[in-house]
Amino acid sequence: MGGWLGPEAWQAVALSLKVAFWATALSLPLGILAAHALARWRFPGRGLLNGLVHLPLILPPVVTGYLLLLVFGRQGAVGSWLHEVFGITLAFRWTGAALAAAIMGFPLMVRAIRLAIEAVDPGLEAAAATLGAGPMRVFATVTLPLAAPGVVAGAILSFAKAIGEFGATITFVSNIPGQTQTLPSAIYALLQVPGGEAAAGRLVVIAIVIAMAALMLSELVARRVARRVAGA
């Protein structure tokens, strides 16, 4: 296998999966919180939060990557603090790639979850409250289980976006083989050198396989969850 693809290419595939997994796993709780806030809470600054969440969807990815570099770079306000207090460095590391992927996938994740939460009948939440359930219990036992198909869909969307993220990632963490070179940046790098098309083509096949597998998995899981929620 290593012969067909080459160790660097395998590294890129493995790194992409690792980045996408952590990006999705760590942003999911925040995504659920933001989606619930946007769907159900009334508070000042709700429009601002909505705009902020959607910003990465509209901004050119390279701008998002540059802003990340400004804020989370070694000299950046948050980046220098993270480095001094926790010894964490994000810029030019795979952890930074995960952060960039999480931020780029966040609007897609929040949108899917928010739609699912808005589709939950508020009457059921009211019924739970009259039965003595406080807001946290209502959320955990009624809202979240009924919105589960949307949560799954949001997570898969975010994962798929993370696998494919290129612009913000390459701006924020560059394209260092074995460190920050994800699947798309490896394809890009191969296409820059003469004779790299064959290797790039093989990576393209892998990208297609991962994308199809993620889609089919999401369909399967969403259908299962939907059936359980409908109680049929």
């Binding site: 009211a126 739970a128 409250a129 009259t130 003595g132 359930a133 209502v138 109680g231 049929a232």
Partner: protein
């Protein structure tokens, strides 16, 4: 247990301005749709926050906008039975029932047996019939050991057969005094069958409150005005009629299911009564009851409400002002009330306690 409610609230289109007290027993909030009944019950539940409100259950203040008190719904301990049940679709019947369960007098086995839902426990709400869903919703509210049950038109979404299936459970709740009930309805038969107290609402205002006989006899009730009289089943006749003994004399009504000897409450619509000064002859109507005019009142809609005293019973007739003046009706006159048997519907007849 008693509930005091004062609510002032702007709803789309009108001003809700209601004060009432619900004593122990079953209080029906009665009025046409759009009269503010559901808004009131949601205010009691804490599901809406009215502009001005003071709601006190026993001595516990649940809402008091003046004093800035608002107890959130999950701390009110009131069982809310919603019109469409609102069962949790992702939980089994058993887990719906136990969702808010607390230890108390309404224990699981007793409630499940009383409502006849033991065979449904493993099922999902999606597979239940309308009547089964209502019973599970009642059980779920009961098991939370509420201080008061709020029922928002629990029968409105059901057909007649299902209504007949659920009504007895509310009668049992009322008669076993498990818990007081505030019951929203626009149905006169439900008032006749269930109410110990009635609060009548029109366009956001309380127009009458008191016993069912008092409220239904009120001139402001218009087409819903009626008398409630007690009677006992004597025997069933072969020609499809049942003979009842009312304190004022025998009554014939269409065949009822009640056994001979059973005490009944009968609702007689005020507009179903014809008055005659002499005893009429050659009439198809079977019930001709002699009485004396106790009161004449002009109703707001231009008709006249005539109250007849017949022994211990009072019967109310709603007639036009023209008839009242043509007949020169006056208090103290003797008069006959004529009631067609078929005007008494099965839903007007309810078993009486005691």
């Amino acid at each position: 247990m008693s509930l005091e409610v004062m609510v002032r609230h702007r709803v789309a289109g009108f001003q809700l301005q209601a004060d009432f007290t619900a004593p122990a027993g079953l209080t029906v909030l009665f009025g046409p749709s759009g009269s503010g009944k559901s808004t009131l019950i949601d205010a009691v539940s804490g599901l809406i926050r009215p502009d001005h409100a003071r709601i006190v259950a026993d001595d516990r203040v649940l809402s008091d906008t003046e004093a800035g008190i608002f107890v959130p719904p999950h701390r009110r301990r009131l069982g809310h039975v919603f019109q469409t049940g609102r069962l949790f679709p992702h939980l089994s019947v058993r887990r719906n029932l136990t969702y808010g369960m607390r230890p108390g007098p309404a224990d699981f086995d007793r409630v499940v047996r009383m409502l006849g839902i033991d065979h449904l426990l493993q099922r999902s709400p999606a597979g239940l019939s309308g009547g089964e869903r209502s019973r599970v919703a009642i059980g779920r509210a009961l098991l939370a050991q509420p201080r008061l049950i709020l029922a928002d038109e629990p029968l409105a979404a059901l057909d007649e057969a299902r209504k007949a299936e659920i009504l007895p459970y509310f009668e049992r709740l009322r008669d076993e005094a498990l818990v007081p009930i505030l019951y929203v309805s626009h149905s006169v038969p439900e008032v006749t069958r269930l109410a110990t107290t009635v609060v009548a609402l029109r366009a956001g205002r309380v127009i009458a409150q008191g016993s069912p006989a008092q409220v239904l006899g009120d001139g402001a009730m218009g087409d819903d005005a009626a008398s409630i009289i007690g009677a006992r089943v004597v025997r069933h006749h072969d020609d499809g009629l049942s003979e009842l003994a009312a304190p004022s004399g025998p009554l014939w009504v269409p065949r009822t299911d009640a056994a001979p000897g059973q005490a009944l409450r009968l609702r007689v619509g005020a507009r179903d009564i014809v008055l005659s000064q002499g005893r009429p002859e050659g009439l198809s109507a079977l019930n001709i009851l002699p009485g004396r005019i106790a009161a004449l009142r002009d109703a707001p809609d231009g008709s006249v409400m005539v109250t007849l005293q017949m022994g211990p019973d009072r019967l109310i007739a709603r007639i036009t002002r023209r008839s009242a003046s043509a007949m020169r009706l006056a208090e103290g006159q003797d008069c006959h009330a004529i009631l067609k048997s078929v005007a008494v519907q099965p839903s007007d007849i309810a078993p009486d306690r005691a």
